[in-house]
């Protein structure tokens, strides 16, 4: 099963990268862009009996390693 995990900074947490990319887009002439935030996309494949069991495991992976839950939140899709 193919899994996409999206890890993003929590609201209110400063995103220096997003700030810099937003500024760069502006200087490139894209004046109508706002609120740029940079996060991580983690793609992986998982062998599991069924979707619920896969969901359990992916959740545990996020909590333990893939996301730093102090300043990041995560979502994921299982195809």
């Amino acid at each position: 099963m193919k899994v996409n995990v999206y890890v993003t900074l929590k609201q209110g947490v400063l995103d220096p990268q997003g700030k810099a990319v937003g500024h760069a887009l502006d200087t490139l002439g894209f004046k109508n862009v706002a609120n740029v935030r940079i996060g991580k996309l983690i793609e992986l494949e998982i062998a599991a009996k069924n979707k619920t069991q896969a969901k359990e495991e992916v959740k545990e992976m996020c909590e333990k390693l893939l996301a730093n839950t102090v300043i990041e939140s995560y979502q994921f899709e299982i195809e």
Binding site: G12, V13, L14, P16, K19, A20, H23, N68, V70, I71
Partner: protein, 656 residues
Amino acid sequence: MDKNIIKQHGLSDEEYKAILKYLGREPNLVELGIFSVMWSEHCSYKSSRVHLKKFPTTGPQVICGPGENAGIVDIGDGQAIVFKMESHNHPSFIEPYQGAATGVGGILRDVFTMGARPIALLDSLRFGAANHAKTPQLVNGVVAGIAGYGNCMGIPTVGGEVYFDESYNGNILVNVMCVGLVKKHQIFRAKASGVGNPVIYVGSKTGRDGIHGATMASDVFDEGSEEKRPTVQVGDPFTEKLLLEACLELMQSAQGRKDVVGIQDMGAAGLTSSSVEMAGRGGVGFEMDLAKVPLRETGMTPYEIMLSESQERMLLVAKKGSEKRIKAFFEKWDLDSEVIGTVVKGGQLSLKVGDELVADLPTIPLTEKAPLYKRPIKKPAWQEKIQELDLATIPLLKDWQEPLLKLLASPSLASKQWVYRQFDHMVGIDTVMIPGGDAAVLRLKGTHKGIAMTTDCNSRYCYLDPFEGGKMAVAEAARNLVCVGAKPLAATDCLNFGNPEKPEIMWQFEQAVLGIAEACRVLGTPIVSGNVSLYNETKGEAIYPTPTIGMVGLLENVEDHCQLGFQQEGDLVVLLGELSEELGGSEYLKVIHGLTRGLPPRVSLDLEKRVQQLCLAGIHAHLIGSAHDCSEGGLAVALAESCFPRELGVEVQIGF
């Protein structure tokens, strides 16, 4: 004001009564918040100030002692060295990367706010036992955070130390030291003056980062600390690099020196501590309009704006009429700079939002008249017991090869190249002696001089005997500088201790301070700046007392710097000083026998001074080819470490 709101702000009943006296009325929430951060242990040093007075802080070489953002020492030819050490222990335990990174960002600002260009960083790190579950993740996060911030700023991280001990399992220590260089006529102070002068906010926008970071530093860690996660401060080294270059361009320009009256970085307690301290030092008041503060988030309350610890921000007081000139410096570097207030007569900090008054406080009670405690002191009942050590009970080993290898491989003694390899320790092209020696040495471009710097502390010695441990930390720092050929000049410190409300901890603190003070006096290295970090305790158990010492020394001629490793075959190896049977608190006892007992080695400061002078004279007369101090692991480890650099061997006769 509701009882538990006061408690949540870490204020005791007496402290709240004192607030009522100073205000003559109940404080509102914004005022209560301001009192709580300014009267926190972290900002007011209320439990330690009475002892810190015992440090020697003056000398012909001292230009500026404790009380300012950093200490300043004269090195001749119109130049001065600005340096200080700060701790970021609690934030680094919660979020290691950002905690350590913002620790670097904060100490850098303390140095360049005085007009100096930072030339080096050092980090003194203490983690739990290497095999403790949390240690690897904390080590990776802290080292990556220091590298991430320092490397991006282009300031070389040239030295420091890394120790592992179970005493830090629940409470790691991240002490960061910064050294800067300034021309004596370009020094700036954090003092406001001149009624009518504008108060200017420069740097990043304000968000809800780390609100109550200051009081958090004064909070004891317990089971609940995982949930009690205040929004930890997040650092942006790129913006700080812009802030550094913009501030230095302004402060080093002829016009800028006339325009800028005072400047201070927004550290712990952000806009509150910078505005209150600058106004307090100048004996003036500030009127500020919080509606003018550049904000990163919508709907922020005055309380949040005043207590936010967003990073990369400075507060500046300038001459009336120079606002445009100053704004141009920050616009060049795409930074915000807004006039948010003016200097007024009297000693009040009055805060408005538009024209609605939201706070009106006297500044002096927030700073000079903050509470001052003479906490009860009691020698711990267990102190004598842990000092008992009967060497007869320690089995005498037949084979010494095995233990020496075990010592050299133990986490605290093993090579830390895997750490400092991640730090850019060469940017600035001044690093003459890279990490791995007794101290780092940087050359000063345009002169023949060199600056040496080191951080030192053996916290096991301080646990067994805080007085001797304190003396040893200073003696060892000075010894390390002498071994690289430098004359020790002055010191800074980071005093990491447990909960001051416990008499045993205050006994440790007082004894360590007395030991440090005496060693500084005899060795002629006054304390010119520093930091106190208390409440380093988890579930009632305090860390070992850890008074880290940072010291700076001068080489008149940087070519005279001296290496640690043996230079060539046939050289004689000489032991300077006395060798006595002092195994108390040694690395040998800990690593080989798992014991932390006995009295640490006694430092005879007079002998120490003469040994150091002899070693320095020998180096400058080119009689000494290499020098290395005996510290953890004793003579055996010192000899082994001296063999490594040029892969030479050594033959030693042990007299008896």
